[in-house]
């Protein structure tokens, strides 16, 4: 019988190329198993073979994701494997994201089962747990020994198309997928049990946890405002005259970044409002009512704030889906970070 073929993905560190200094390495291909793959090879036994190990530096993957992905896929494809394993990444964040990204890409392109492993707090977990089976590992490579049996069992089941049981049984990270089963007691009886316990003050476990409301904990305060660069953002629909980027007056699908360099105030000759949600007359007359440039310049001059970013970011809030708004935010924070912005004043109408 032919052996099942596995391709394994690891990073610079686990390939023995080195740590941070080797993180820029480009994708490489090695025949057979290496590094942590040796433990997998031993566990999977004679019916399986790690035919190749593909390696990529974490920084290279992070910075040139698309190129790295394409190169790696080419390498993997020609082995025609039945299973792809990435990592485990343990608590290495960039490595975790790379493992998750590669698993998704391989699954989509090659249509074969994929598997990775991470420590619960690895940022890759939140990004990929709904899409992938991620074996739960300890936070360092010392956890390899414990992870291997789970990777083996799940990997075998995947290749053979057998049912993968619940996360606590199989040792993977809970994916948040609701799956039916038959309980030994009917629902009403379980309900009464829970209520009696709850009334006694005993701990009870819910069968369906309420969604966690997506909250971001507040950042620590700005220590010294006079040393910080402040940026202004608005959902109040203030744009340069003529609305050059055609931002919609409601249900916006884009945002704009516009210069305020050398300006002391928002002049109605330069800016207009496109907001669809309110009476525009006052703001048309004085855009500072939404983007308080005049006051901010005063504060900058007086040294109350260190510096004002030389642009403002704008869109319209009315009718704009939370999904789009989230997307805008994810996009423009990169710029804010690059520009060293240390505080943001966001105005909404």
């Amino acid at each position: 019988m032919a052996k099942y073929k596995i391709v394994h993905y690891i990073n610079n560190f686990f390939a023995g190329a080195g740590g941070e200094e080797a993180a820029g390495m480009k994708p490489e291909l090695h025949e057979g198993a290496m590094g942590p793959g040796l433990a997998l090879k031993a566990a999977f036994g004679d019916d399986y073979e790690i035919v190749a190990t593909v390696v990529c530096g974490d920084n290279y993957f992070g910075e040139k994701t698309d190129a790295a992905k394409a190169e790696l896929l080419e390498m993997i494809k020609k082995y025609d494997p039945q299973l792809f394993i990435a990592g485990p990444a343990f608590n290495a964040g960039r490595y975790g994201v790379a493992c998750g990204t590669m698993c998704k890409a391989v699954e989509a392109e090659l249509g074969i089962p994929v598997l990775t492993g991470m420590y619960e707090e690895n940022p890759g977990v939140d990004m990929f747990k709904k899409d992938l089976i991620i074996v739960k590992t300890k936070n360092s490579a010392a956890g390899m020994k414990d992870a291997v049996p789970h990777i083996k069992t799940i990997g075998e089941k995947m290749v053979k198309g057998e049912e993968i049981l619940g996360p606590s049984i199989e040792g993977y990270i809970e994916r948040g997928i609701r799956v039916n089963y038959f309980h030994e007691k009917r629902g009403s009886e379980r309900g009464v049990d829970l209520l009696v316990k709850k009334c006694r003050g005993e701990a009870v476990e819910t069968e369906y946890p309420m969604p966690k409301f997506d909250r971001v904990p507040p950042n620590p305060p700005v220590a010294d405002m006079s040393k910080v660069k402040v940026a202004m953002i608005t959902s109040g629909g203030i744009v340069p005259q003529g609305n050059p980027d055609h931002i919609e007056s409601s249900s916006a699908t884009k945002y704009g970044v516009y210069s305020i360099e050398g300006m002391d105030r928002m002049d109605k000759k330069d800016f207009m409002t496109i907001h669809g949600g309110y009476d525009r007359a006052f703001v048309t007359e004085n855009p500072n009512l939404v983007v308080p440039l005049d006051v901010m310049r005063d504060l900058e001059r007086e040294g109350v704030i260190g510096e004002l970013a030389n642009y403002f970011i704008t869109t319209t809030g009315t009718g704009t889906s939370t999904g789009n708004a989230k997307g805008f935010g994810e996009d423009f924070v990169k710029k804010l970070k690059e520009d060293g912005v240390g505080a943001v004043v966001l105005t909404s109408t």
């Binding site: 709904k130 619940g166 996360p167 809970e174 994916r175 948040g176 997928i177 609701r178 799956v179 039916n180 089963y181 038959f182 309980h183 030994e184 007691k185 009917r186 629902g187 009403s188 009886e189 379980r190 309900g191 009464v192 829970l194 209520l195 009696v196 709850k198 009334c199 006694r200 009870v204 819910t206 069968e207 369906y208 946890p209 309420m210 969604p211």
Partner: protein, 428 residues
């Protein structure tokens, strides 16, 4: 209020010249049932068919399921305010033909009614694959208005069930179960050391095909009220809805409410079952605020320590469910919710349309979005013409041999949100 429920166990159903029960077999007279149904001139045809557990039979589209019962002693009669005169029920003695049902089926509107399979892999999801079913397939006269047809179909089922139930009047029951709830102060005094427990029963009340009736009163027009648990066993509540089949509370499920049954089982042991608060699930947000305020008020008024809440339906009712839970909790009563789930095809989305942090103790009756396969059956009672358009079905899902794939929500009472079944969901 004390009710003796005499259970007559039915192990088979057969056609005969008259309707009667003998040695656990229910004999029904087809002609008399058809005649009874056709007394309503809104209906032009009624066909009676029988379905037994294990048969290769599929029933669709199902409108309501009703257990035949008859009141043999005490005030009032079965289905008060609907079939019989308005009169307080819940006291005396009632006989039930346990293990048999009357099922109405037929097309009401171009969507929504569900499926019952008497055998095969999907049979396990519905309790009615284990009962002996007298199915009445109805057809309306041409051009009948939807509201009228809904009413005619609802009445047909209740009339037939009442008629069949009469067969149990003079039969000695196999088992008699006594349920008793005393007036509030006496009930509290009976078990002073046990937690005082209630049940908030939310009735579907959004409009056409979404209604429920209490003593004939449209539930959207009442305000929350207290009910002795035994009233429901005499048919004080009847279903007038066919929302998503999977979480439809059929009239059968009202008569056999599992929460009430299980609370009675523990009554006097580790809890003191005080009573039921009935409330509704209206479309109007002001009604929701008002009724949930009143539910919390009643719970506090009668001094409950804890209560269970069940809902019927998805979406709009989730908001009532959460408002009730939140306000009752804030009024100082502990809450457990029983619900079903709709997390989408991939099981990854939020299961309910609303959520509050107070809903921290929930029982899951399973999720209705998974796809299940329905193999072909030898015989179909009703029609499969509408499967594609029924809830949970999708275009092209039905194959030439009559087999099809559909979401679990197409099966009657498969994820019923009052805990009648053992189906549950957990997180993978």
């Amino acid at each position: 209020m004390k009710l003796e429920l005499g259970k007559i166990y039915i192990h088979d159903v057969q056609f005969a010249d008259k309707t009667y029960v003998e040695n656990g077999t229910l004999f029904v007279c087809k002609e008399e049932i058809e005649k009874l149904v056709l007394e309503d001139d809104r209906l032009i045809s009624a066909r009676v068919e029988l379905a037994r557990p294990g048969e290769s039979v599929r029933i669709a589209p199902v409108k309501d399921v009703i257990e035949p019962r008859v009141k043999v002693d005490g005030p009032g009669a079965i289905f008060p305010g609907v079939i019989n005169k308005v009169k307080q029920v819940g006291e005396g003695r009632t006989h039930a033909l346990v293990g048999s049902t009357v099922i109405t089926c037929g097309r009401i509107v171009g969507f929504q009614e569900g499926v019952i399979d008497m055998s095969g892999p999907t049979a396990k999801y519905t309790p009615f694959s284990e009962t002996y079913n007298v199915c009445v397939v109805i057809e309306p006269k041409e051009g009948l208005e939807t509201h009228d047809y809904e009413a005619a179909g609802r009445m047909a089922g209740l009339k037939v069930a009442t008629y069949v139930g009469e067969a149990g009047r003079n039969v000695e029951p196999d088992e008699i179960v006594t349920y008793e709830t005393k007036p509030l102060l006496e009930q509290i005094a009976q078990y002073p050391d046990l937690p005082k427990i209630g049940y908030v029963h939310m009735l579907q009340s959004q409009g056409l095909l979404h209604d429920t009736f209490y003593y004939g009163v449209d539930a959207k027009k009442f305000i929350p009220t207290l009910m002795y648990p035994t009233e429901i066993m005499d048919g004080a509540i009847v279903s007038g809805n066919c929302v998503a089949p999977c979480d439809k509370v059929t009239t059968y499920h009202h008569l056999n409410n599992p929460v009430i049954e299980d609370l009675y089982k523990r009554h006097g042991k580790d809890l003191n079952f005080i009573g039921v608060i009935l409330t509704n699930e209206n479309v109007f947000l002001a009604d929701k605020e008002r009724c949930s305020d009143m539910v919390a008020k009643l719970a506090q008024f009668i001094g409950l320590d804890g209560l269970l809440i069940t809902e019927e339906g998805y979406g709009n009712p989730d908001t009532d469910l959460m408002m009730n839970c939140k306000k009752v909790t804030q009024a100082g009563t502990k809450v457990v919710i029983i619900t079903d789930e709709f997390p989408g095809r991939d099981g990854k989305s939020q299961s309910l349309a609303d959520a509050v942090p107070e809903a921290d103790t929930m029982v899951s009756c399973g999720q209705g979005n998974i796809i299940v396969h329905f193999p072909a059956m030898d015989h179909v009672i009703g029609t499969l013409d509408f499967v594609e358009t029924m809830i949970g079905g999708y275009e092209g899902c039905i194959k030439a041999d009559g087999s099809f794939d559909a979401e679990l929500q197409i099966i009657i009472a498969s994820t019923i949100a009052n805990g009648f079944n053992k189906l549950a969901a957990r997180t993978y």
